[in-house]
């Protein structure tokens, strides 16, 4: 992207575009969720339970090397399951990047402790403890999102939803999740079109106040669109017999490899929590 084009787009617009690209890759990758790979062959309930256990281990671990090891394990699982690494990297970098901007960056200067550097111009003091907190936040976000994307890339979405119901997650929550995932891409497309349409009618640079007002108006318009679309999607599902419970073609059955994978994930999570305590 050229510097000029980049300068014409605000942070909000760039973030929406980044999310759109990541979701597009995720949607395309999901079509390969039935591809031949060892994770793709596992029972979705096992994958869901394993991912939840490993994400919990990431959250409960207090050592950077243990979290890094879990992240490496997630990447290894992706490679051996033939998950497209570019799609995985794109999704993970977006999640970790959003975390870095929202939480890790402020933690650098807000956490009290020993000063290690000073931010030029602003004069803010970066502390060693702040640096450590930021590393934990970013690494945790990267590891947890790797496991999350791994589930999405190796399991058809309808199977993830059915597995959630197997764990007695409320129907309403599953239904909302089903529609949110599917339509977030359409909404991001709408947002992108809105930004392009606005840029095509804008001459010169806008003031910061005008840009903020446009962002607020765009967010409002998107909210209205998303409400209308959500309503129409629900009606379209109802019109084809949807009654709150997603039914899929395949019945889940536990094979020996599923039990083995479940045990392996449980042991890995337990060891990570124990070592990283």
């Amino acid at each position: 992207m050229s510097g000029r084009a980049r300068s014409e787009r605000g942070l909000f617009e760039r973030t929406v575009d980044g999310m759109r690209q990541a979701m597009e890759r995720a949607t395309s990758a999901e079509a390969g969720a039935t591809a031949a790979g060892w994770m793709q062959r596992l029972d979705p309930r096992v994958k869901l339970a394993a991912v939840l256990a490993l994400v919990a281990a990431v959250a409960l671990s207090h050592r950077l090397d243990v979290i890094a090891a879990l992240l490496a394990a997630g990447i290894a699982m992706a490679v051996t399951s033939r998950v497209p690494l570019s799609a995985l990297a794109s999704g993970v970098s977006l999640a970790a990047g959003a975390f870095a901007v929202a939480l890790a960056a402020p933690a650098l200067v807000l956490t009290p402790g020993r000063a290690v550097a000073v931010v030029p111009v602003a004069g803010w003091v970066v502390t060693a403890q702040g640096l450590m907190s930021a590393c934990y936040l970013v690494l945790r976000a990267a590891a947890a999102s790797t496991f999350g994307f791994l589930l999405v890339f190796t399991t058809p979405w309808a199977h993830v939803l059915k597995a959630l119901r197997a764990f007695h997650v409320p129907v309403l929550f599953v239904a909302v999740l089903a529609m949110t995932y599917r339509y977030i891409l359409l909404l991001l497309d709408s947002a992108h079109d809105m930004f392009v349409a606005r840029r095509s009618r804008t001459v010169g640079r806008l003031t910061a106040a005008t840009r903020r007002r446009l962002v607020a108006q765009s967010a409002g318009a998107l909210l209205v669109k998303s409400l209308n679309m959500g309503n129409d999607v629900f009606l379209a599902m109802q019109a084809r017999g949807y009654r709150g419970e997603v039914r899929v073609l395949d019945d889940f059955t536990m094979a020996r490899t599923d039990w083995f994978a479940l045990a392996a994930a449980a042991i890995l999570a337990a060891v990570a929590v124990w070592v990283g305590r």
């Binding site: 079509a31 309808a158 599917r182 999607v233 379209a236 084809r240 017999g241 949807y242 009654r243 073609l249």
Partner: protein, 263 residues
Amino acid sequence: MNVFDLRSVTYRFNRVVALDGLTMAVPAGTRVALLGANGSGKSTLLRVLAGLYFPESGRVEFRGEPLTESRFADDEFAHGFRRRVGLVFQNPDVQLFNATVFDEVAFGPLQLGWAAGDVRARVTDALDRFRLSDLKDRVPQRLSGGEKKRVALASVLVMDPEVLLLDEPTDALDPRSQSQVIDLLTEWTAGSKSVITATHHLGILEEIADHCVVLDRGRVVAERSPAGLLSDEDLLDRTNLIHAHRHRHDGAHVHSHPHRHGL
């Protein structure tokens, strides 16, 4: 026997009246076109007929049975009705939410509780009939407009409903895709099916309908055969289905008169 009977049906979106005391009947086995300008109430009427909206007053009956919200609380009734009445939305994007085209077409039969073997056989047959077999593993959201429309049609027709409700089936399609969709519908309705199509494209009228109902501001203002409607320029002009604009004939003479597009 009528498939639908509507008496004095009124439906509002907040304060905006979408259907205003509408009365009409749809005899079984007929192909009805609902015509009207944007905002005339066509899409709302289809949603009322599909049991998705419930009128604030008036009565809607399907084969003599009232369609009320309380009737749809009963699973058996709801599944029976959804099996018999299919709705294809104007915007296929709201109708396509599965990971693959195969899953999309299988969604309806699965929600109706059909056996897995039966679902697979029906879906395979529908994909074949709609020339979608090559696309069965593709992500529906990433298809072209014409392909999306065919998937949306297949996802409803796979349940072989006795009544099909279509909201602007050829909207935003290129001429080839339009003709493909019309051919598929004509083939499917060759039997004793009832089809109610909302459209403002006069060009497809004679191919898709035996009877036309013209709506204006939520009311039925006329009922005609397709040929009778197309020859009534006053009515078409009054209901915004044709319009007057200035244009040039053979180079020199510029004038204004009611003009039909898409014919």
